[in-house]
């Protein structure tokens, strides 16, 4: 197929990473001119929603944080299937059976703690100990996609369930905006423990930040930064090439070099991460999560208040 | 440039500031409006300038209707010059800029603007202050800037609201002379509001006396002074005493009047009838020297007026004290013989 022309990408990757990804793709496909917009998932989606509403969506491709959102778009018929994509090497749990979206990396949520903290948690349940009372930070599922998935994963875990979230509430845990805020609260010593995405503490620890990231024994939840082609894509051929590039081994190595855990099992993770096979992912079904999403958030609101 | 107002009304709330005012001012006239505070003089001026829409009636300027039913030409289209009672100087402009503004607005050539501005500033003796801001001037200086600005505009219709009120008498006479000169040269029709009757008398071709929103009399200065139409006008213009007397006989424009038992000949309107009448007597009609002083009076009160004393003297059978100018001080209670050799019989 002819891979050239303009390709529009909406992504929630951090700037630097997005730039690197686009640069690498352009190097491989010099005929394509990639125009990309980066922003938080919420804003990217708001923008996209407005564009849908106005009947003129601009992007060909979407590269955003989580599968639940993709599942929702798929259900609305906004996504285009890419039958030719080669997903054989991947865990089927993180790829869509209908080949409309494809996970590109694993961004797991586990526990972070300040190195000055009295306990070194190894299990989610350690956060329910008396010593941790009033010292827990967590991103709010009401504003963060990763936190939503974390909540879905934890509450559907038979050992933890909603009782665990209630326990957190009793501990005085205070859900703040997003991962960045949670990380800062812990790194700054304002709180001592928290749930956060892996790469923030792992990367910053290498720079000397007083934090430690823990993959708890129950496992971690993960957002997988899926990529998808919109059904309204103007340049589907180039879009497919972009998807192929991301899930190729070369693309996965790029993710690793940017400091993320690649989704491809055969590609080694970056410095500071444990080996891929040592990381236990909790069970997660995006379709089910989508269905129970509203109910979950309602329940969460009831437990934690506004 | 005839200015014509017919039945103009303007009310503020329930108060009629202009109540059925009709006036006709001839081209080139210097028309002065007199009247007590709050009688509607400024409102009249604002209505003519177009600053205050009128409720009913018509206004014509130079043969064109500028206000009337459903018509209200905006002020900037009427080309009238105005000196405001509150000066309305623009605080952000220097004196020079204030004065030059109307000229620049009219897109006159730069050199002309400069020359004329300088000229007008000279006229009002403000050349040394040309580059000050209005806030740094004295009250009278501000007023002169307002005057200069109006002069500079050179409009054919000029409206002035007490433009000399804050000036000392000398500057005032100088300005009066300048205004008269300017008026004559420019041939402009001028409506001039003042409460200074001396000024009105000296400058006016015609004077109108306003009272409570109405025009009581519009006439030449002499007409207004010598032949007022009613007691109110008589009382307002100049110093005067109103006496009651009996008309004994009328001969053309003079009547024989009996005052305190003595017969005096006094000018009167043509249709005066025999019987009781009100007579106005001014200090200059009262003599205190000469042979025929046959009215005996008693001095009531004396005020120094610079060079002479003004005495209120009581005349038998009259309510009001008669005003007399006397060259030497007198004490209350002194008796004084006077004669009356003029006055005016008020129309019934």
């Amino acid at each position: 197929a002819d891979v050239s022309g303009k390709l529009v990408l909406y992504t929630s990757q951090p700037n630097k990473d997005a730039q690197a990804t686009v640069d690498a793709f352009s190097a491989a496909n010099p005929g394509v001119e990639v125009e990309w917009v980066r922003d938080g998932t919420t804003k990217i989606m708001a923008k996209l929603r407005a564009e849908f509403e106005a009947g003129a969506p601009k992007p060909d491709l979407l590269l955003i944080a989580d599968m639940v959102t993709m599942e929702g778009l798929k259900a609305e018929g906004r996504l285009m299937a890419h039958e030719g994509a080669d997903v054989s090497a991947y865990d089927p749990a993180i790829m869509d059976d209908d080949k409309t979206y494809f996970s590109t990396k694993l961004i797991t949520t586990g526990i972070v703690y300040n190195t000055n903290a009295p306990i070194k948690p190894t299990s989610y349940k350690d956060l329910l100990e008396a010593d941790a009372k009033g010292k827990i930070a967590m991103p709010s599922p009401l504003t963060s996609g990763a936190a939503t998935i974390h909540m879905a994963a934890l509450t559907s875990n038979p050992d933890l369930g909603w009782a665990y979230y209630e326990g957190l509430a009793d501990q005085g845990a205070n859900p703040k905006g997003g991962n960045g805020g949670t990380y800062k609260a812990v790194a700054g010593g304002e709180k001592l423990y928290g749930f956060v995405v892996d790469f923030l503490p792992i990367r910053n620890k290498l720079e000397g930040a007083p934090v430690e990231f823990v993959f708890p024994e129950e496992g971690v939840s993960a957002v997988t930064e899926p990529v998808a082609i919109l059904s309204t894509a103007q340049n589907p051929d180039a879009a497919k090439a972009f998807v192929d590039f991301l899930i190729s081994e070369e693309g996965q190595k790029l993710a690793s070099s940017q400091g993320y855990l690649p989704a491809h099992p055969a590609v080694a993770g970056p410095e500071g991460f444990p080996a891929r096979q040592d990381i236990k992912l909790m069970d997660f079904d995006p379709a089910a999560a989508l269905e129970s999403d509203a109910a979950n958030k309602m329940k969460f609101t009831e437990i934690f208040g506004g | 440039m005839t200015m014509r107002l017919s039945s103009v009304r303007k009310t503020f709330g329930s108060h009629a500031a202009l109540d059925d005012v009709s006036l006709e001012i001839d081209t080139g006239d210097f028309f002065v409006v007199l009247g007590p505070s709050g009688c509607g003089k400024s409102t009249l001026l604002r209505a003519i300038a177009g600053l205050e829409p009128i409720d009913s009636g018509d206004i014509h300027l130079a043969g064109t209707q500028v206000a009337g039913k459903g018509l209200h030409q905006p002020p900037e289209a009427r080309n009238v010059g105005v000196v405001f009672q509150s000066y309305a100087l623009w605080p952000h402009m220097s004196v020079r800029q204030n004065v030059a503004f109307p000229l620049e607005t009219a897109k006159r050539a730069g050199t002309y603007v400069t020359a004329r501005t300088n000229n007008c500033l000279e006229t009002v003796e403000l050349t040394p202050f040309a580059d000050r801001k209005p806030a740094d001037l004295s009250g009278g200086q501000r007023q002169r800037v307002a005057l200069a600005r109006c002069l500079a505009q050179g409009a054919k219709t000029v409206l002035m609201d007490e433009p000399l009120a804050n000036l000392d008498p000398h500057l005032r006479s100088a300005m009066e002379a300048e205004l008269a000169e300017f008026h004559k040269k420019s041939g402009s029709t001028t409506l001039f509001i003042t409460h200074d009757q001396r000024e009105a008398m000296a400058l006016a071709d015609k004077v109108a006396l306003m009272w409570d929103g109405k025009v009581l009399q519009a006439d030449t200065p002499e007409g207004l002074y010598d032949r007022p139409v009613n007691e109110r006008v008589a009382g307002f213009i100049g110093r005067s005493t109103i006496l009651s007397g009996e008309i004994l006989a009328v001969r053309g424009e003079r009547a024989l009047v009996s005052l305190a038992g003595h017969a005096v000949e006094i000018p009167c309107p043509q249709d005066t009838e025999i019987g009781m009448a009100r007579i106005i007597v001014r200090p200059e009609h009262v003599r205190t020297t000469g042979e025929d002083r046959d009215l005996e009076t008693v001095v009531d009160r004396v005020t120094y007026r610079g060079g002479f004393w003004e005495a209120n003297v009581r005349l038998d059978g009259q309510e009001q004290a008669v005003l007399v100018n006397i060259p030497h001080k007198a004490a209350a209670g002194d008796s004084l013989a006077i004669s009356i050799d003029g006055g005016w019989v008020l129309p019934a």
């Binding site: 951090p14 010292k135 005085g172 205070n174 859900p175 905006g177 | 300038a49 900037e76």
Partner: protein, 566 residues
């Protein structure tokens, strides 16, 4: 009718149309999504929302926090303006400058800095050994904390407004009060403040509406304080990503718009009652000798400036100088690499500077111009003109009250397609951000100008009219210079607001068209806190340079135009 008359009417029509096109139309398109179902009006969702507990609570929180913070900001801003404007404290220029400076820091950055500065990890508090226990609840995470930060953020708005109004205050009115035997306090209470009431009202309204639509502080303090306000609720609705996002957001925006509308009506009624033209020439301002109180007053002022400015600025600076967030600043951890990164390695930084400086300046100029015209009509003596202008003004006000993020959604709806007739697409260009700024911030620039118009002696216009000056010339030669200080204050407010805003351009920026706010936010959001801090520091420094550069204009513009020059 004469041609002169037509210019005036044409201008009004043009103004109303322009403001409707950029404020009203986008909002209308958005509201339509929430209020129509299958093409017909359906207010059921609105009524439902108005009965929903979470919406009602957020509405109450929004009203409460906005009203309280506006009240305190008015008090604080006015007090500062009066002390600096009317007494003989020294170094007034510098003080004004420093009071305005906090506005230069994006609100969310300020919020973060304050959280840091007053939290358990605060280097200052730790050094004083009064830091809260590690891990304990943060004192700012409360309604009071939220109100405090909103107050500090918005008091410079009021300050500038009141200061501009003070300049046109005739000296004799104060003189008369003093010879009547009233001391400074009574004069303030009975004469000065009542006469400044249009400005105070405007300041209050501005602070209120700004707080209503503020996102950064509401989110950073309100969320952890579990004190949800409407902008945060909007954000939550957006974060659900589903297809009902827009209708939900639209409905909350309608509610915000209604609140703003009520506020406008109240304000208009009050301002009409308070209107009192100041007849008299503004003269050199009062210079009340404070005598032995001067030193204490000055000390208080400087203490205030130091705590409001230094605290966040210092923590910002400290953060920008360490390798990674959370490290204590010491000789070992000190690095300039963050500055090197943002200034040399990230091309986006300089681009964002150029973009923001350009469009914020343009927006400020356009708004200053629009405000002078619109302000003229808003206080016109013709009821019809006032009504028309009022319609435009209300739209502007609503556009300001609706959170920026929502406005940018509305802008996408309105401008994604090429403009009719000219067939140019603004979407994805810098122009759409400029238009959005003008739309959202007209209300900011308009406020001081309207206050100035309300105080103006209308005989000044009369004099110009009888001098033959038509509408255009009156505006240019009389009104523009007379309200210039107010318009400039407005313009500067707009510039400062636009220079660092994050939410309006949030959805409208694109590669090559970044703004400073979005860039800082993206750094922050991506976890590069230190880069965000470094960039903020650069922004503050750059703004200082701009402000100092503006000093050079002092001689060329009407007196009082540059607020920190007297």
């Amino acid at each position: 009718m004469t041609a002169i008359f037509r210019t005036e009417r044409l201008t009004l029509v043009f103004l109303v149309l322009t403001i409707t096109a950029i404020c009203g139309l986008p909002l209308l398109l958005l509201f339509k999504i929430g209020l129509t179902a299958e093409g017909s009006l359906n207010i059921a969702p609105l009524l439902e929302a108005l009965q929903s507990r979470s919406v009602l609570r957020a509405l109450w929180h929004s009203l409460e926090s906005s009203a309280l913070s506006a009240l305190f900001a008015t008090i604080l801003g006015t007090a500062l303006a009066l002390v600096i404007g009317l007494t003989n404290v020294r170094a007034k220029g510098l003080l004004v400058f420093l009071i305005l400076l906090p506005m230069m820091i994006p609100p969310h950055v300020t919020a973060i800095a304050w959280i840091q500065a007053l939290g358990p990890a605060s280097p200052v508090l730790r050094w004083l050994s009064i830091a809260p226990e590690l891990g304990s609840d943060h004192p700012l995470y409360s309604r009071e904390g939220l109100v405090l930060l909103l107050t500090l953020q918005h008091s410079p708005l009021v300050f500038l407004l009141v200061r501009a109004a003070l300049r046109s205050f005739p000296r004799e009115l104060s003189d008369a009060a003093r010879v009547s035997g009233s001391g400074a306090t009574r004069m303030l209470v009975k004469i000065t403040l009542p006469l400044l009431s249009p400005a105070l009202m405007a300041g209050f309204a501005l602070a209120f509406v700004a707080a209503l639509g503020n996102f950064g502080i509401n989110a950073l303090i309100g969320i952890p304080a579990r004190y949800t306000t409407l902008p945060v609720l909007v954000w939550r609705r957006l974060a659900s990503f589903g297809p009902d996002v827009l209708p939900n957001v639209a409905i909350i925006s309608v509610i915000l718009a209604l609140v703003a509308l009520v506020a406008i009506v109240i304000q208009t009624v009050l301002q009409k009652r308070m209107r009192s033209a100041l007849v008299g020439l503004p003269q050199a301002p009062l210079d009340i000798a404070l005598g032995k109180h001067r030193l204490p007053v000055e000390a208080l002022l400087w203490l205030f400036v130091a705590s409001v400015l230094l605290l966040p600025a210092a923590s910002l600076l400290a953060t920008s100088l360490v390798k990674t967030y959370g490290l204590d600043l010491s000789l070992e951890t000190l690095t300039l690499s963050n500055f090197a990164e943002v200034l040399w390695r990230q091309s986006v930084t300089l681009r964002a500077f150029a973009n923001s400086t350009g469009i914020a300046t343009l927006a400020a100029l356009v708004i200053a111009g629009l405000s002078i015209l619109l302000g003229y009509f808003l206080v016109s003596r013709k009821a019809g003109q006032r009504l028309m202008a009022g319609i435009a003004g209300s739209q502007a006000e609503i556009a300001f009250a609706v959170p920026g993020l929502v406005m940018s959604i509305a802008f996408i709806l309105a401008f994604i397609r090429p403009l009719p007739i000219v067939n140019i697409s603004l979407y994805g260009t810098l122009w759409i951000i400029l238009i959005a700024y003008v739309s959202c911030f007209v209300a900011v620039g308009l406020k001081p100008v309207v206050a100035a118009f309300l105080q103006m002696d209308m005989s000044l216009e009369d004099a110009a009219r009888v001098s033959g000056a038509g509408f255009g010339r009156r505006i240019r030669k009389i009104f523009a210079p007379l309200v210039a200080p107010a318009a400039a204050s407005g313009g500067i407010l707009v510039f400062l607001t636009a220079y660092n805003e994050v939410t309006v351009s949030a959805l409208l920026w694109s590669t090559g068209n970044e703004t400073i706010g979005t860039t800082i936010f993206n750094y922050e959001d991506g976890g590069y806190t230190t880069l965000a801090a470094a960039m903020s520091v650069v922004v503050v420094l750059a703004t200082i340079v701009i402000m100092v550069a503006m000093n050079a204009l002092t001689k060329k513009v009407p007196a009082g135009t540059i607020p920190w020059r007297s």
